[in-house]
């Protein structure tokens, strides 16, 4: 177990390194000059040059990268080009909202997906099953911005229960979280349904039902445990995905998350912020995967890694 763990950690470090290299290259390929953007429009050539010197932008790329890595290991993400602040502080200010939206989003995914999947599995073949699956498919096929905008229209405008957007109270998080969680919810519903059907097909369960007895609580718990397994893996993955990729929902609702931060940084060619943001995102993805891989064998003793 320890060996497996250390191997995975090493792998994760390698992945993060790869991500940092690719991001670095991409950031420098962005078609704008950060030195000029900082200097402003009316700056002289000399000012621009001196800024470039200060930031070390005129040194060869590999050297810049190595410098960056060195600072990274000291915990220094650099200073933002566009804002007068350390990248670490900027990221930290965005972490809380992003985490909140991610977690509540996952919560909604589970709230929507699990019951739907279970009902569909139990009522398999009936119109309930078909209806639930239809909803699941639609959920997966709907882009987040469409869902988000429609939610705003119906529940924040026509019937003003929720605010139109922004960040602050518990009310503010509901609509964005639904927009985020709908697609995943559909996916979870299908996965739960499959897993449950598999377990419900087991001999002892069928016997109980044939006898007219709904499977005892003990059996039900067993069914749940097995059905929950694939969902656990998905939750792990989702943590990673949500921490970095919900730019769209953040944009629609004006939610101050990391996705928005990276998006704006790309437009401003704010390289340190881009690097920091993407790395933090990738870190969460990797951690999420690791978490899922660890929880799996804990739930099902049959799965063991050599």
């Amino acid at each position: 177990m320890i060996a497996y763990l250390s191997q995975r950690v090493l792998q994760a470090a390698g992945v993060l390194l790869g991500v940092s290299i690719i991001t670095f290259l991409l950031a420098f390929l962005l078609p704008a000059d950060p030195a000029r953007m900082i200097a402003g429009r009316s700056a002289t050539v000399a000012t621009v040059e001196s800024i470039r010197e200060q930031l070390g932008l005129n040194r060869p790329l590999p050297q810049q990268y190595v410098t960056y890595l060195g600072n990274l290991l000291k915990g220094d993400f650099g200073r933002s080009y566009a804002q007068k602040a350390d990248v670490t502080r900027i990221i930290r200010s965005r972490l809380a909202p992003t985490l909140q939206l991610a977690l509540v989003g996952i919560l909604f995914e589970l709230l929507i997906g699990l019951p739907m999947g279970m009902i569909a599995a139990i009522k398999r073949g009936t119109w309930v099953d078909q209806g639930v699956m239809a909803f699941a498919f639609v959920g997966v096929s709907a882009p987040q911005f469409v869902v988000g905008l429609l939610l705003i229209y119906f529940f924040a405008y026509l019937i003003p229960i929720f605010p139109l957007g922004g960040y602050g109270t518990a009310r503010h998080i509901v609509l964005p979280a639904i927009a985020v969680g709908l697609a995943g919810g559909g996916w979870y519903a299908r996965v739960t349904r499959s897993a449950m059907i598999d377990v419900l097909r087991q001999g002892y369960v069928r016997t109980a039902r044939a006898k007219g007895v709904f499977p005892s609580k003990v059996v039900f718990k067993h069914v749940l445990k097995n059905a929950v397994l694939p969902v656990v893996a998905l939750v792990g993955l989702d943590i990673g995905v949500f921490m970095g990729g919900i730019v769209i929902v953040e944009s629609v609702f004006g939610w101050p998350g990391i996705g928005q931060m990276i998006w704006q940084a790309i437009q401003l060619v704010d390289i340190p912020v881009i690097m920091g943001g993407v790395l933090v995102t990738a870190l969460f993805v990797v951690l999420g995967n690791l978490l899922a891989d660890l929880v799996y064998p804990a739930l099902d003793p049959r799965i063991r890694y050599s």
Partner: protein
């Protein structure tokens, strides 16, 4: 002796064995018949056909020129018009007919979706096969690259690439392909691994069959089903990605109509003119849904997933 096959309705089968009739071309292959029984799949296929027709026949079906801004296409205050007889789905912020824009937008979204997915499948196929067949160092390198790409938030990567490459229709397709090939490569790689371990591949190697020949004649045919599924299922994802990128402004650029782009342009008027979001939105959902249902049904009938 030989068993008598039950007559299949609609054919002149009579008492001919099934396999004879299949070879004679009078009965569809097993997977196709299974597919036809899948209600959701057939619905998806119909949806796909409808979208294709919309795209191809746009010039015939569109009531107006999608680029034409009508002076009387706006209210006196300059707001978009709701659906009416003249403008069946209403007008947009510049007084253009929404229905026509949506029809022409189908071309863009479909073109990008199909192109992007085709490229992604091709890329994923090549990488997956090379990694799975040649093994060794190549395999490790390619799979590590795949791992790194998976950790990268897809949308962010797409945005960055689009910002670097100055978006146009083809660039957007390329960007989406570069973001989407990863899971295809993984799946193909796994399949090639399992195929490669089967005896006939070893036998081919022992007989001295060349690399290309083995690949094309022995391994590729087994991948066809997987490719068919990805080729359709993937479009549901690429269409969504294109819509998202266009919504953020880094996809297909105006004035070319694109469903995501229309929604993007209409954001500030949206609360007063919800049809500008609802109708393109429905178009996106229906398209993605159709390809999704179709692809999933294909997968089920080709027996690639477990039966439910």
């Amino acid at each position: 002796m030989a068993q008598q096959a039950a007559p299949v309705e609609g054919t002149t089968g009579g008492n001919t064995p099934l396999n004879e009739r299949v070879s004679a071309g009078r009965v569809a292959p097993a997977w196709l018949r299974r597919f036809m029984k899948n209600g959701a799949g057939v619905t998806g296929l119909i949806g796909v056909i409808i979208v294709l027709v919309m795209a191809f026949a746009a010039p015939l079906l569109a009531p107006h020129d999608p680029a034409r801004q009508y002076f009387d296409g706006l209210t006196d205050f300059g707001d978009p018009l709701p659906p009416s007889e003249r403008f069946p789905l209403g007008t947009d912020t510049l007084g253009r007919d929404l229905a026509s824009r949506i029809l022409y937008g189908a071309r863009v979204s479909l073109l990008v979706g199909v192109l992007a997915n085709g490229a992604a499948v091709l890329l994923g196929l090549i990488i997956g096969v090379v990694a799975g067949y040649f093994r060794g160092v190549t395999e490790t390198i390619l799979m590590r690259i795949t791992d790194v790409m998976t950790a990268f938030p897809a949308l962010i990567l797409a945005i960055a690439l689009a910002a670097i490459l100055r978006p146009s229709l083809w660039i957007v397709a390329l960007v989406i392909a570069l973001v989407n090939w990863v899971w295809i490569a993984r799946a193909i790689y796994a399949q090639v691994l399992s195929i490669g371990q089967r005896e006939f591949v070893e036998a081919a190697g022992a007989l001295g069959v060349g690399t290309f020949r083995t690949l094309f004649r022995h391994i590729l045919p087994h991948l066809v089903s997987t490719l068919m599924v990805f080729g359709t299922l993937g479009i549901s994802t690429t269409v969504l990605l294109e819509a998202s990128l266009s919504f953020l402004g880094v996809g297909v650029q105006p004035p070319t109509p694109s469903w995501g782009g229309i929604i993007n342009e209409s954001q500030s008027y949206f609360l007063d003119a919800p049809w500008l979001v609802a109708f393109p939105g429905v178009a996106i959902v229906l398209t993605s849904l159709s390809f999704n249902l179709f692809g999933e049904a294909l997968r089920d009938s080709l027996d690639l997933a477990e039966r439910r």
